[in-house]
């Protein structure tokens, strides 16, 4: 079943087409990688999918409902959650309070949110720092915390923007393990990443954007070996 799809999605900034005629489909239960060179429109696309930007044209469908132009809070309530490239945690309250707040925002009662927060902190190896203000955590710990906030009440679809960028390899493996485990439980992911080895390892399928347009979509290895993708994204001399 298609969980998320876009039809003719477009966004222009001035005269520049950041996203142009994007038709993308995310199937329920898969991990779809979204790749492309810098400036190809991946983050703009994610902003439109998560409600932070209103498209100029086209539509976004989530679970067969037209959600074009809906606010992020409305999409979050439907189970479509977003993780940002630059972490967005609540820096002046503790890591535990961050998770508790995210749980309450998703409609959990306080006792349940507390219990889930403790389980997630353990799974994400954040228990030793759970009482520290989020602003005192390292960059990697903040990313893990944001994973936890996203999954305190499991989303139907998680949109992850560069989750592995500038993260220590050990933490990167913790994140990858977390995504794999949640995917085995049936959760769906759209992952934007420049980290090709991890895209190959994690993603069932991949889609590649260039200059605002979708230039390839299919099985991850097929996409990465597509000459159009190699030329646009990896350079003509590169190989996977």
């Amino acid at each position: 079943m298609t969980l998320l799809r876009t039809e003719g999605l477009a966004k222009h900034f001035g005269g520049v087409a950041a996203v142009d005629d994007l038709a993308l489909a995310v199937e329920e239960g898969e991990i779809l990688g979204l790749i492309g060179p810098n400036g190809s429109g991946k983050t703009t696309a994610l902003n439109m999918l998560s409600g932070f930007l209103v498209p100029d044209r086209g539509s976004v469908w989530f679970a067969d409902e037209n959600v074009t132009g809906k606010k992020p809070v409305a999409l979050a309530r439907r189970g479509l959650l977003r993780m940002f490239q630059t972490t967005r945690v609540f820096v002046r309250i503790s890591a535990f309070d961050n998770l508790l707040t995210a749980g309450l925002a998703r409609g959990l009662d306080e006792a349940e949110a507390r219990e889930r927060a403790r389980v997630l902190l353990e799974e994400l190896t954040l228990t030793p720092v759970m009482y520290l203000d989020a602003g005192q955590l390292s960059g990697g710990q903040r990313k893990l915390l944001e994973f936890g906030m996203c999954f305190i009440a499991p989303p139907r679809l998680a949109l992850l923007d560069e989750p592995f960028a500038a993260v220590h390899p050990v933490m990167r493996e913790t994140m990858a393990r977390f995504i794999r485990r949640r995917n085995e439980e049936g959760h769906t992911f759209l992952v934007v990443s420049h980290d090709m080895p991890i895209v190959v390892e994690l993603c069932d399928r991949a889609a590649c954007m260039n200059a605002g347009r979708l230039i390839a979509i299919g099985a991850t290895r097929d996409v990465l070996q597509d000459p159009v993708v190699i030329e646009a994204y990896l350079g003509s001399e590169s190989h996977v």
């Binding site: 967005r88 503790s94 508790l100 707040t101 925002a105 030793p128």
Partner: protein, 322 residues
């Protein structure tokens, strides 16, 4: 586990208990303070404490920097005054009308400034405050302009007024404690720290920001309405930007984003200003210098410094955990 002292629920509970101690001291003060003049000074300092708590709700907890708390106190004071002057409406209706009226205007202002942040938000609220003050100053036929408006009093007893203010401070404080302990308070903190992050987690930023504006303005309106009946005269001077500056100084010195800070800050600053009254403008220089010192070196304010001592071990734990 000692580190658990940094949890919001624990910090808030400690903060609330400290604020209750301050209120208890205020409640006991008339045992030793019998001079009507000194009681009057304490009443006015509690008026400022209410304004400081109202502004702190908006700026300290929800992260929305407004420059209009004094303007809302002025509006809250004028509503019962005008209702009595023109239509002989009793204070029993006029005061609640002042609170509801300022809450509605605050809610509307919150909607207008919804997408504004930082200096744009501050300037817009400042513009609103000045418009409100100038309109009242120039509407002589309706408001009696700069001459001011006489307001009936609730009671003749100064001690009675004193305990009325103590009770209102206590009720507002308890209300803030319960709201900040609830999901609403946590959502405000999230909006303060990262509005986009809060929205992406499913927090209805529009709803909670406008709620913060409405509640904050209602508290300021309540303070103004009570103060008007105490002084029996309301004038546009209540809404001067200088008054807002004093409120901000009280919160910054006492501790922004806390319950105890605005209360302690208001009492200390106002009592000190009375003590320095004979020195003329020197008091403003002293308070301005204090604000600079606190903003530069002690951002947590007086209560923040005390609270930080309680969790001083935490940064060491952080270093070990990284």
């Amino acid at each position: 586990m000692s580190d658990a002292r940094n949890l919001w629920s624990h910090r808030l509970a400690v903060d609330f208990r400290a604020a209750l101690v301050v209120v208890a001291v205020l409640a006991a003060a008339p045992i030793v303070v019998t001079s009507p003049y000194t009681l009057g000074i304490l009443i006015v300092s509690m008026y400022f404490a209410l304004l400081a708590m109202g502004w702190n709700l908006l700026a300290g907890f929800a992260g929305q920097f407004s420059l209009a708390p004094a303007a809302f106190a002025m509006l809250g004071a004028y509503v019962p005054g005008l209702l009595d002057y023109h239509w002989h409406v009793s204070l029993a209706v006029g005061i609640p009308a002042g609170i509801v009226g300022t809450a509605i205007v605050g809610w509307l202002l919150g909607r207008v400034v919804l997408r504004l942040r930082g200096p744009y938000l501050a300037l817009t609220t400042l513009s609103f405050a000045e418009i409100a003050r100038v309109v009242i100053s120039n509407s002589y036929d309706f408001t009696r302009g700069a001459q001011g408006l006489n307001v009936p009093t609730l009671m003749q007893s100064r001690v009675g007024y004193y305990y009325l203010f103590v009770a209102v401070v206590l009720v507002v404080l308890a209300g803030l404690f319960f709201v900040m302990r609830s999901a609403i308070g946590r959502f405000w903190l999230a909006i303060r720290d990262d509005e986009t992050g809060a929205e992406s987690r499913g927090i209805d930023v529009v709803r909670y920001k406008t709620l913060a504006f409405a509640l904050s303005c209602a508290i300021c309106g309540l303070a103004g309405a009570l103060y008007g009946t105490f002084s029996q005269l309301v004038s546009p001077e209540l809404g001067l930007l200088l008054q807002t500056g004093i409120v901000i100084a009280m919160v910054v010195i006492g501790g922004i984003g806390t319950l105890t800070g605005p209360l302690v800050g208001a009492l200390l600053v106002y009592l000190a200003s009375e003590w320095m009254r004979g020195l003329g403008n020197v008091q403003m220089i002293v308070f301005s210098a204090l604000v600079i010192i606190f903003a530069r070196f002690f951002r947590e304010g007086l209560w923040g410094l005390v609270a930080r001592r309680r969790v001083r071990a935490l940064p060491r734990a952080a270093a070990g955990a990284r």
